[in-house]
Subunit: 202 residues, 2 copies
DNA sequence: GTCTATATATTGATAGAC
DNA sequence: GTCTATCAATATATAGAC
């Protein structure tokens, strides 16, 4: 929406602080006061550059979604073999205890409660996960075209399951305060992928 | 901890309201004011029966965890064939848009932020998901003992993946405001389970 | 045990000087 | 564009009568 601000500008400093706080504390717990303390900006600056907390958060989430989409694109363009790219996606070294930068907001009222949500907050999440599923499903389609997938597999379903395994891994790791849950969930996703894969023909 | 209160008692009415609000809005968004409005109790009652909001929430979550553990036990005891029980678990008719009563709290600071969390809030979640994983892993062990599982499968890993698929399904369905994500994630979990299953011997 | 005030801190946002 | 007040509303909790 709004063009990128110059790095180091007050507007960008506010956005960077919001991005950190949204990751660490989520939306509701990200008070304007904390943003100002984090960023060093004065009280008036926030409301000069943004209509309010929600608009700042929405802009911050747009940036996060753009960064993550870019990372997905780089991964899928950088790994020529499509199945290898999906496995690589599962092996991204997330820190499971920190939660997913976008997925962790799925249960905040302002983001995803149909009655009280601000659509501008959910939109970047919606778009990123749709894009991620498309990247994965497209890779699986290419694998199928190369004869590397057993026929008759629902590639969109498989792509959703890959994403769900990672998101569920975050949830379980946070609850147990233990990265092992993420490792196991991802291992299951690898196994599922292997189970629909067939060796390259001669 | 505390013994169950008589149904209809003010204490239990407060607990029931807290359980509803925790599911619908989460912990931080569950203000004492809302609890009192929901329950019809007077202001003083909450602080007479509980030291504060955190203690009420912890007691409410203990009840939720107990209910869900009981439901898991009923399912796994009621379905004699262990693999069928795991498939049945995946087919529990969750409402994906409502989120998981316990899993939805995984990203609240008071529940799972190592710096600020109240251990009493995370404990019931930790215990329920550990118990759930054990139920599933035990069923897979029984299936293996009956020769229904391909050998060499990590049953704990598989159990974690089943739970993660459901939790990830909740996250994705909330983000897209669409139950389809949960259906697809669960379908992937069924497929994984099938891929490690072998037909009963003669 | 329950009720009606009330207290204090924090929230998200504004006012207005510079 | 940035700053220092300041605001009204809400959050969690307490006081004290009944």
């Amino acid at each position: 929406m709004s063009p990128h601000s110059p790095p180091g500008s007050t507007r960008q400093v506010l956005l960077d602080s919001a991005k950190r706080l949204l990751w660490k504390h989520g939306y509701e717990a990200m008070s304007p006061r904390r943003i100002l303390a984090e960023s060093g900006a004065g009280q008036g600056s926030l409301y000069h550059h943004f209509p309010g907390k929600a608009a700042l958060a929405a802009a911050a989430l747009e940036e996060v979604a753009a960064e993550m989409t870019e990372a997905m694109d780089a991964l899928f363009e950088g790994v020529p073999e499509p199945l290898a790219a999906v496995h690589r996606f599962l092996d991204i070294p997330f820190d499971p205890l920190k939660g997913c930068r976008l997925g962790r907001l799925a249960n905040e009222a302002a983001v995803a409660d149909p009655e009280t949500a601000d659509p501008a907050l959910r939109a970047p999440l919606d778009r990123f996960f749709a894009a991620a599923r498309t990247r994965i499903a497209d890779a699986l389609d290419r694998a199928a075209a190369e004869g590397r997938l057993h026929p008759g597999q629902d590639r969109e379903m498989l792509a959703t399951t890959m994403l769900a395994a990672v998101q569920g891994g975050f949830v379980l790791s946070r609850i147990h305060q233990d990265p092992a849950s993420m490792r196991q969930a991802v291992a299951g996703a690898h196994l599922l992928l292997d189970s629909v894969t067939r060796e390259p023909g001669p």
